[in-house]
Point group: D2
């Protein structure tokens, strides 16, 4: 099959190291295996980290490697023990392949299982014609839908959903929440937070196009910075969901957030460096959010199926993989970039 | 009346600037005023911060000033509108004097009211024969009890209680929690956490005497550091309550805590300085805890009244105030230092 | 002043026992008293219960009595100790007058205080030109608003808000909730539940006009009964909020609700009579909801001020009081009946 | 193998219909099957219901049938796909056999899966030498422990644990909780509630021996009825856990419970028949509790392993099965009856 193969790490030119060519197709080996013909594979900032040789919380995988951990498609083949899916079914791929037996997942935290396989991270991913997953990781999509629209939910949407769900716990109808960064995750996050909480939602992004997108998707207001929002007499936030996570955004959030408020961290660009007393004096909570659970992905998928959540996608062919990754790195993608193999 | 008066800020000799002498006694001015004859006034690290010229989250108060925000005693006089207390009643003094009308306190957060009076911080405190509070701040103590034993609850105990209550939300019977710092707050915190959660409780303190105290008060184990606990094959903590808050203790906590775990911050000695990704990769939560609510103080008081919580007190006379403050600064106090005016 | 006075109990003709006439105006007695010129006074099913001689959870009040526990208006006079309100301010009246000192309200439950005064129930109410409340019970309304639109929030809206907030705890985006009874409470409840939860909301009411109203206000569907909803292949509810509380609606709810679901009870017409095993086999929860807290009323008021919640009002003059009560009893009121004294 | 076989339904003599004889031993059929040599099989009130022809929430199973849904033992054989267990391991058997794929269990509710196999209910149970379960249902027990002591956890303990965990959500240190019925479930429940909540725990049982047991196991007090407790000036309960569920115990609970309190139902003997207004006037919550989750069973097992929970067992040989069932029906068992095949 054709796939985009990463042959070397790079911090500069992407085109030379990610090359589309022929590789072996995956085959059914275990009773619960599923082979998925990939229809859409989201392009994620984590892919850029891997390109640079980082290995975000996972064991490294030897090169050559096929990226792509945010996949949706059509079932091509099923193992002998698969009970809920058949060839031709449309599926969204939960990113983590687990046994269902780990203590963490018995407690409802599949995403905390340490000994897991994650296609695109430590196993062959979805920048390819075909992808192998397990039945436990498959989410059924509505008949007749376009899987491309759902692909970004598997990681970007799910991370945004979980962070919003946690932030919503402190949000009341009289509160305001800030979404920092209206990119692949943030443009979903601001819509999700409007659905999950009664708070007003303000988008913060330095890019005018991103702010325009935020307003079109339902944000109550959009500003280039916390300072601009304050200058416009917007209420300080009771919760901030930071999809950037730079020193600058984190410091703005800690300084601006109301007493008793919550900072939900998804982006991981920088450091959190603050006097301990800042958290104590105003009883602030800072919490990291990592992808999410299978159950959360089910709920999220329902929102798109019901037409309540709009996924903004910029499509690239498999051959355009280097362009897609470069556009993401340069901040030129509107919504989420999705490869269409 | 006699009182210990702070006449100047100092970072060295305390004896010269805190002087016992005569000051005007407080008098009933408002209908809900209460005059309390102070029986016990706890000596707190916040007092040391004020001594050094800091003003922890409060508006500064001009010198001369009477310290003491952790008070218990006997009611000496009551305003015309007081309904639930009479002269001779024993009371514990909730530290914040508020109107009951602020939005924050209508939502159950008296300790978030900005415009408040706090005896010992921005009003005359309890290092004196008499103290003025308001009826809303009075907690009834059992007849015949010794108020000295209850005084440390008003701040040290309450801060520990609230932090433990929040930490208990994530603790299951199979979990371990670490209490960092077994001083005035921590010796109460480890007992409270045993009552509020089913988790095993491990005490961390560099001082042998503090560890001995922790074990006597019911800690399941006690070690000098996270490293020693790890070396003894103690389970890593699901929650850490840090009563020190130094760079060293905070870094140990973030490194050691389990995925999905919670760091509850009470001590504020240093900075929290970590890569954002540490919080995200293991979905950690860091939360500040500031004193607590009146309702929490009621619950806490019940624990002492029922004999379930032991308050370890080192008594000093009013004349020994400089010694008490110095002993605290030097780490020589076992349990909580309490002035007995 | 003019007021509608209840002179005798009745289960038949209302006109003869509720008579508009002259009574003494209330006067400032305590420092925190407020006199409100009533602009709108909601007409509630509880008023019908009082008319019939019942005394819903309160100590009886001797006749003659002035009804009206759901009031909004303009401040006419203030006590000497009032700090946050001035003559001319628009206010909504939280129904319970308390001291702020009771243990229940220190824990955030003003509506659980036993020893309280409730205008219209055990003190003179708002079916009159003027009403006396206390500063603690006043909620500031936006300048220039119409208090008539806010009056129904004080009881009908607040009871609906609290019930919805509790039900929302179990509701996910893939769930459906049923609102039973689209009257004074239910027409607010269905809108509130859409704001507080991501669930689909189905209205159940035997009256066609009520179902039409529900659909206009945003209900996802409306049916005459659980059976009709089931016949239309609507998902069974994860939560039911029952504003009727008859044997029939309660039995339908218990039979129809999903495993792990929740029945929130507001209406109290009948009995709950079920085998214990029905609750156990499907792990159902049945919970009563009684009015709500002052903080909840603040949040709710914000929703109307922001234009997110539409209060449907049928206005009556003070002289039409008997007609208003009769229309309510006969099920002829659309939305909430409000007297305009 | 030898097993106790139920050959006919009865409401009178048990000896004639439950007969010990030879039946086929279970064999490994699926990759995740486990064969357990039964060391202890708890005798449960549900067994009595089945004996009488009832089928508590499950599809009926044709006779002859082998009872026993509360089992612990030693692994005798493992399927080819089993990863975490080996022959000779000690295990406790979670009662429900599921695929791990159902939506309910992906959301953390294995006990809500409808299409499940439950040995002793709709599949051959543990009143036998050998039992077949699946790997997902196995809980590892500590090496060298006595499985007999753990067997009652699988159902009695788990149901008590879940009910206590839910009740603990409303319990503060100043509250009192009542445990109604100190039998197989209640004697565990009172200990568990002391561990999970800071409340005082009062046991209610008409039997003197049961009350004595309650006091020995740590109950703060024990009475024959709510009326006796009230007569002794015991605080009314904030939460009641009813392990009986008769009209009498349910009515006592609803009448006695405090405003804002919670009734947790486990026993299902009778009807709940109350005016709806009783739940609303005092904002009471009534909630059913059904067995529990695998994760809860893990936590519970830890309590016994740590020596914090005492399981009181009355042992019977397999041949004494009719005596065990009869003793249970007649209320003569102290703690839990366990068959030792």
């Amino acid at each position: 099959m054709r796939a985009a193969v990463l042959n070397a790490y790079t911090t500069t030119e992407i085109g030379g190291v990610v090359v589309v060519g022929e590789v072996d197709s995956p085959t059914i080996e275990n009773a619960d295996d599923l082979i998925v013909r990939v229809v859409g594979a989201g392009v994620c900032r984590t892919d850029l980290h891997i390109l640079e040789g980082q290995n975000f919380g996972e064991r490294p995988v030897p090169l050559p490697h096929v990226l792509g951990h945010e996949n949706a498609g059509v079932i091509e083949a099923v193992g002998a023990g698969v009970v809920n899916f058949a060839v031709g079914d449309l599926v969204l791929c939960y990113p983590f392949l687990t046994t269902g037996l780990d203590h963490a997942e018995r407690q409802g935290f599949e995403h905390h299982v340490v000994d897991r396989s994650t296609p695109g991270i430590n196993a062959p991913g979805g920048y390819a014609e075909f992808l192998k997953i397990r039945e436990r990781a498959a989410v059924a999509l509505p008949k007749g839908c376009d899987p491309i629209e759902y692909a970004p939910l598997a990681d970007a949407g799910l991370a945004a959903f979980r962070a919003c769900r946690k932030a919503a716990e402190v949000l009341r109808s009289s509160d305001t929440a800030y979404i920092v960064g209206v990119g692949g995750l943030g443009h979903l996050g601001l819509q999700i937070l409007k659905i999950l909480s009664p708070a007003k939602v303000v988008a913060i992004d330095v890019r005018q196009a991103a702010r325009d997108l935020a307003l079109r998707l339902g944000a109550d207001a959009a500003y280039a910075s916390f300072a601009e929002a304050a200058h416009a007499s917007i209420n300080p936030p009771k919760a901030v969901i930071d999809f950037v996570g730079s020193e600058e955004t984190l410091t703005s959030a800690i300084d601006g957030i109301q007493t008793g408020g919550r900072l939900e961290l998804v982006g991981v660009e920088g450091r959190l460096d603050i006097p301990a007393r800042l958290l104590v004096e105003r009883e602030l909570t800072v919490s990291g959010s990592l992808v999410g659970t299978y159950a959360e992905l089910l709920e999220l998928t329902e929102l798109v199926a019901d037409g309540r959540l709009e996924v903004v996608v910029t499509k690239y062919s498999l051959e355009q993989v280097a362009m897609a990754l470069t556009d993401l790195r340069e901040g030129r993608v509107l919504g989420r970039a999705v490869l269409v193999p």
